[in-house]
């Protein structure tokens, strides 16, 4: 399927885990992209330093992608370079995918898969699972999906080259997103009653007599309604209220 050897392909895949290592406001992950692509460039142009340097310079420029989908772009570009594609076409490919691979990953991973896995782990823990069961379950399930997505996107890039768009349009992305967000909404609901009675503190041995007093549970239920009503906007005000209470308690305790 490719002119690139196994070693170059494996090295590129491993390097893709560090694609965001030099994230900067000017070229975003441009240098990281070239860093990950380097094994292919060395394999293809290694005997001709001038061409190698030229290729490195071309691929250092502005690029962006979701990190877990970056293997798709890296593999596809390696494939295009191996086929001797015109550098202008390679550049156009990179400009075309840098927006879509970013927004696709944001939607599927940052706004769906990751919170769904975290809520699942929290639900397990709040329901009484041992601490390590919750942590190991989160890391194993989340990274199972993470690594699978990287492998799938890497293979897709190697096989399809610049035609990944056509294949990706046929995959059930909207369905996956829907299933994940419905499941995550269910889990968010599931843990609210448990968080409201302080299940996590009971598990940590912080509450000897079992549950929080009723007035705190009612206040937490009201808090959940406020959270649902205002969404992510409540975050900063909530932090400031906690800070204020911390200061008041310190002053009251005879600090000043």
């Amino acid at each position: 399927m490719t002119a690139l050897g196994f070693r170059a392909r494996a090295a590129m895949f491993l390097r893709s885990f560090a694609v965001q290592g030099s994230w900067n406001y000017r070229t975003l992950i441009g240098a990281g992209f070239a860093f990950a692509l380097l094994p292919a460039l060395r394999a293809l142009y290694g005997r001709d330093p001038a061409r190698l340097n030229d290729a490195v310079a071309r691929h250092c420029r502005l690029f962006n992608s979701h990190p877990y989908l970056s293997p798709m772009a890296i593999a596809a570009v390696a494939q295009l370079e191996a086929e001797g594609e015109d550098p202008r076409v390679v550049d156009r490919f990179k400009s075309a995918v840098r927006g879509s691979l970013g927004s696709l990953g944001d939607r599927l991973v940052w706004a769906a898969w990751r919170p769904a896995c975290l809520l699942f782990a929290l639900a397990l823990l709040f329901a009484g699972a041992r601490w390590w069961v919750g942590i190991v379950a989160f890391l194993a399930i989340y990274n199972g999906g993470h690594v699978l997505l990287r492998v799938w996107s890497y293979r897709l890039g190697l096989v399809e080259g610049k035609f990944i768009g056509e294949r990706l349009r046929q995959s059930p992305i909207d369905l996956v997103e829907r299933v994940l967000t419905v499941g995550a909404a269910f889990l968010a609901g599931l843990i609210i009653p448990m968080a409201a009675v302080g299940a996590n503190f009971r598990a940590a041995g912080l509450m000897v007599d079992g549950l929080l007093p009723a007035h705190w549970v009612i206040a937490a239920a009201a808090g959940a309604v406020i959270g649902v009503r205002f969404g992510a906007r409540v975050r900063q005000p909530t932090v400031w209220i906690l800070v204020l209470i911390a200061i008041l308690g310190s002053v009251r305790g005879g600090l000043l």
């Binding site: 000017r26 990281g32 070239a34 968010a188 609901g189 649902v228 992510a232």
Partner: protein
């Protein structure tokens, strides 16, 4: 608390968030629990991490905007809690630890912002000036990652030591007659778990699944 170990762990957590390998050990839930484990008290670490995780859920790293870095702040706060208390859990100290971590994550976020500006010099402008050689590219890219690793260790260590001093000073005197620190944290957690619904389409699109979840959660509580 072994602060050398805390610094190394802070470095790993700082790197994981963006640079390498985004396996999400940098989530507050994981980072705080494992920090607790370093002190042999994973359950208290978990209790801190669960609340911080509720606050971190609604922050999405979308766009080039500046955002708080919750992982290193969770390590700093939890390490300070472990150093300033023990062996029995102290609810007041836990409350103050969480408030500290929610403030410190703004500082750690600023350190990420600063690093990304430094990276503009280190790789951004450099690659535009060309001619780039493979070796120099690798050195600069790995150099940027090394800076990130040092950054994570520094913000964790500085935050942890400062928070430990604050906790030793404030935790014994803190009091509000009507307030239970755990009650306050339960309310804050519930607010943020409610707010998380907005990530998945909000009340308008996902209320059925959400209400079904609340029902099942309540039943689960009654059964146990």
């Amino acid at each position: 608390m072994n602060w050398l170990l805390v610094a190394v762990w802070g470095s790993v957590v700082g790197l994981d968030a963006t640079s390498f390998p985004q396996a999400m050990v940098s989530r507050p839930l994981v980072a705080a629990t494992l920090t607790g484990l370093l002190a042999g008290r994973p359950l208290e670490g978990l209790a801190i991490g669960a609340v911080l995780e509720a606050f971190a859920l609604v922050v999405l790293p979308i766009g080039a905007a500046r955002y708080p870095e919750s992982g290193t702040a969770a390590v700093a706060g939890t390490a300070a809690y472990m150093a300033a208390t023990g062996p029995a859990p102290v609810p007041v100290a836990m409350f103050l630890t969480i408030v500290f971590a929610l403030l410190w994550e703004r500082v750690t976020g600023m350190s990420v912002d600063l690093m990304r500006r430094i990276n503009v010099r280190l790789v951004g402008e450099w690659t535009e000036q060309g001619p780039a050689t493979p070796g120099s590219l690798e050195r600069r890219h790995l150099g940027a990652m090394a800076i990130d690793g040092v950054r994570g260790a520094v913000v964790t260590l500085v935050g942890g030591l400062a928070a430990a001093a604050l906790l030793r000073w404030l935790a014994p005197v803190w009091s509000l007659d009507s307030a239970s620190p755990l009650g306050l944290l339960a309310v804050a957690g519930a607010v943020m778990f409610g707010a998380a619904l907005s990530l998945f389409g909000g009340w308008g699109e996902r209320r059925l699944a959400f209400l079904l979840g609340i029902l099942c959660g309540s039943i689960l509580l009654l059964v146990r």
